[in-house]
Amino acid sequence: MLLLSKFRAVVGIAVQQLRHDRGRTVLAVLGICLAVLSMTLLGSVGLGVIETGEEKFDQSGRDLWITGGPVQLAPGSVGGFENTVYDAHQISAEIGQRDDVTTAVPLAFQTVYVSPNGSEFDTLIGTGAPARGGSVRITQGESFSSQDQHYAGGSYDGPMSHEVVISPQTAERYDVGVNDTLYLGGSIGSAQNNEFRIVGISPTFSQFLGTPTVVLHLSELQTITGQTANDRATMITVDVDDDADLSQVEAEIQAAYPEYDVRTNREQLQATLERQAVLLAAGGSLVVFAALAGITLTTNLLLSLVYQQRRILAALRAQGAAASTLVGVVGTQAILLSFVGGILGAAVTVPAIRVLNIVAETIVGFENVVSVQPWILLSGIVCAFLIGIGGAFVAGWRVSRVSPLEQLQ
């Protein structure tokens, strides 16, 4: 009962102190709120990117991904990308012949020049892919009318279909639709000579890449970008039989093609994220810095309060007030500031994430990239609480060292 009464008095004084210095209190709460918001937003973005990545890999309907390392930029080369899978058609055919593999499809990404009129050109990402199958969603028109005939067993002398499937953003950008024409090529000269008919509109590849695309048969993309010599592709996607042992198939293909990396969806996502290690480290550092900034701010606020009231605190100690009581008053202020800042930060996170999602969708085309998770909001509040504990610890230590004799001389 005595302790409860003392506790209530300490909390009451702490609240009065915070109410008395309203400007400082508001600034401290805002600071902690911003620190929490930084943590929750960065955490939500990171989590959202991973979830979106997993979702996109799952949506692709592929089980294994064969790559020759990361897609490298190759400035000065036609297409601007250095695709690292060689003899892509042949390897795909060999893998596709396995009994436990349903399909093996080579994919290539290249920068291409695009124009609706053959005179003004932009660059877009061109995708060499079949653009057919259950994983590709056609929203208008149809997919390619035929298989890739231009490859012709590696001679690249079969007829070109001159068909292209475009993303909705591409259609919007050039104000074109099904049966309209686009000029495509690895160079402007090449593009002026290659007229493609739009057969369908599909958001599948643009959502996967996060940018407007044009999709061609792989061999036709290779031809217009000069990649036929080595039959280069970015990757080969493999669909494995439902009954097959995925890890065994992965191991066998890896053994057969040791120069390439064979990965499952999750491994491929992991490898993609690992390649962004610097970015991830920067994000992690920002979270840590946000927490440290919160601790520094709260501690600074409380230390300045202790300094400002050092003589009053000394007088109270001279009157017999226990150090624990005074530490309690200062510490309670830190806890209250961090609690309010934490709750506010968590509350602001929800609308902030909505805004971020609108921005992300506008810029990269991905919907709901940033996801709100209750445990991230809770973590933000816990971090705010730890910020308060840190501030209370330092300020409490300072209060406990206030000497009546030194301050009241």
Binding site: I13, H20, A318, Q319, G320, A321
Partner: protein, 243 residues
């Protein structure tokens, strides 16, 4: 050794100083370990007894040891030599925590600069020392209100220190010092920041409170000292007169 003055009452002293010396080491610790640091003797072999019901003044020029003696009497400091007994307990060898408890239970202190918490009301400031006893809010408020009434501030209970005059703030500080019903009230230059008329009110309040406790006031102001029952005069840390 100076002789302790005869207590005017027949009750045992509430504070006793016996042959008390207080020295301070001047300056910070030298990097030359063997070099002795100079010491300053703030108080030299002083003996005084303070009895209940006494209104005692401590006088002397600046640097004479008035504040040092007050700190020793209040249990804020301990002597280098000699002994100080407060309410029957020697302060020698007591930890700061124990001395804080001793002060809480037996001593009230009034400072020249009031030192009130600006964020809480006059009543809450007065009630502050009672928090240590874990006394409930309503009882704390009752006692604080009664004391504010006693010092003439019954209409200022909810005002914050910033809304009070200097004299009113000092009366709040006196009420705060009295709220634990201490056996000795110690005041260091309590009228130092106040005008003559307000200072007079403060002395009246202190004098009134000496009816049932010892009150010790250190002051330069002869008008304050004239109101006391007894004046202890110090010079260069030595007791010059007591009576």
């Amino acid at each position: 050794m100076a002789q302790a003055a005869q207590p005017p009452s027949d009750q045992p002293p509430v504070v006793t100083c016996r042959d008390v010396t207080r020295q301070y080491i001047r300056g910070s610790k030298s990097k030359f370990a063997n070099q002795p640091r100079p010491t300053v003797t703030a108080l030299d072999s002083v003996s005084v007894d303070i009895c209940p019901g006494e209104f005692v003044g401590i006088a002397g020029p600046s640097g004479s040891g008035k504040s040092t003696l007050l700190h020793l009497l209040a249990g804020l400091d301990t002597p280098t030599d000699g002994d100080v007994t407060l309410a029957g307990t020697s302060t020698i060898g007591l930890s700061e925590q124990r001395r804080a408890r001793l002060r809480l239970e037996h001593v009230g202190i009034v400072f020249q600069h009031f030192y009130l918490l600006p964020s809480i009301s006059a009543r809450a400031n007065v009630a502050l020392p009672l928090v240590e006893y874990g006394i409930g809010r309503s009882t704390r408020r009752e006692k604080a209100t009664a004391l504010l009434d006693q010092v003439g501030l019954e209409d200022r209970t909810t005002h914050k220190p910033g809304e009070l005059s200097g004299g009113e703030q000092q009366r709040v500080a006196i009420a705060r010092a009295l709220v634990t019903d201490p056996e000795v009230l110690i005041a260091d230059e309590p009228t130092g920041e106040l005008d003559t008329e307000t200072g007079e009110q403060i002395i009246n309040a202190l004098s009134a409170s000496s009816s049932d406790r010892a009150v010790v006031v250190a002051s330069h102001d002869e008008r304050v000292l004239e109101r006391t029952d007894r004046v202890i005069r110090l010079h260069d840390g030595r007791l010059v007169s007591d009576g």
